[in-house]
Assembly symmetry: C2
Amino acid sequence: MNDTSPPRRGRKSELSREQILDAAARMLRRQGYGNTTLRAIAEVAGIQAGSIYYHFASKDEIMDAVLERGVAAVYEAVRDRLAALPSETGHLARIEVAVTTHLEALLSHGDYTSASIRTYGEVPEAFQQKSQPLREAYVVLWQDLLGAAQADGAIRDDLDTSLLRTLLLGSLNWTVEWYDPTQRPVQDIARQAVDVLFRGVVPVEEAS
Amino acid sequence: MNDTSPPRRGRKSELSREQILDAAARMLRRQGYGNTTLRAIAEVAGIQAGSIYYHFASKDEIMDAVLERGVAAVYEAVRDRLAALPSETGHLARIEVAVTTHLEALLSHGDYTSASIRTYGEVPEAFQQKSQPLREAYVVLWQDLLGAAQADGAIRDDLDTSLLRTLLLGSLNWTVEWYDPTQRPVQDIARQAVDVLFRGVVPVEEAS
DNA sequence: GCAATAATCTAACAATCGTTCGAATGGTAA
DNA sequence: TTACCATTCGAACGATTGTTAGATTATTGC
């Protein structure tokens, strides 16, 4: 009944599986769901199209794996880094760490996270739902972070933290569309993003 | 030689053309480029698939028209509203108008702008280039806006306005992914976005 | 009302899609 | 080596794709 045990497989299988996923993520990122062909994935992975079905049951299963990996990479990175902070860490410091980690994870696992972000909307609803719990957990994480900060007066209480969260994460997520790793280190972007988020762009002397 | 004159067409042609474009934009927005089928577009538009070719030469030509319309709607709206401002308008006020107008245009032409934003990356390079001049012009518009503000001291001069622009526009563009017109008026979002952009989230008394 | 042409329909085409399956290969334990 | 199972190949399938062309219907100008 409980069919948790996978068919016993050798070491080479996992390697191929990984190559297929990498290829799929790379193609999903630039061409979207509908344009990504199993034959193209196979070619990039260095195998034949039919061979994919030894590792995955369907195209959707591949997409699902890529999507899930994309969100998990960011969520787990941020969650773990926050958990590793000393308990006396201030709210603003925690937010700064979250922003920086989010950006680092987002841009270092570029293909998976980009594919996840850009493809999520165009994938059949049926298996959007599989990665949805993770996405919601990540939203809750941020909402708690911002809510706690506001409750303690670290964030102005005339702001809607829910709106603030979507605006902030939107700004960060959009970086996958333009970020060029050869141009500028991720930390520079994170630093200025946090700086503007905290203090705004207007110089203090004339902040009306 | 100069074949500028289109084949003389009646009034009904333009109506159908519009319906095809509307249908295409709506499908592009939710399903992406590769998943959007000419037969599906035709069904939404209330005609037969083959009839599309009376109005457009190819699928790509439809996509091209949708993409261009999407960026043009936002660009022209912001440009015109800025041009209509009295010349003595301050830099921050101009930026506020630009942000608000950008959001309003973005979200009121939802299908076209969303399709334009989400599909641009997955479309063949050959005709990404057709809407590229418009996109660049829009970037220049914002860059001038922010650069002039910084030159006059309205924006802190330790900020990189080029990075600031991408972060800001990213935040605004991302709204097409989550905005629900039944929940909150666009102006509320614009107001808080400008507020945070100018003054940051940290209360003045403890801004270090 | 009649001719002309604008607009749409219908049916098919070649290509490509995801998928299947039996045969061929690879490696590993005995 | 032999036998067994893991892994891949190669070729095919039905369905669907963008596109085409001729027949058919609407609409307009006179």
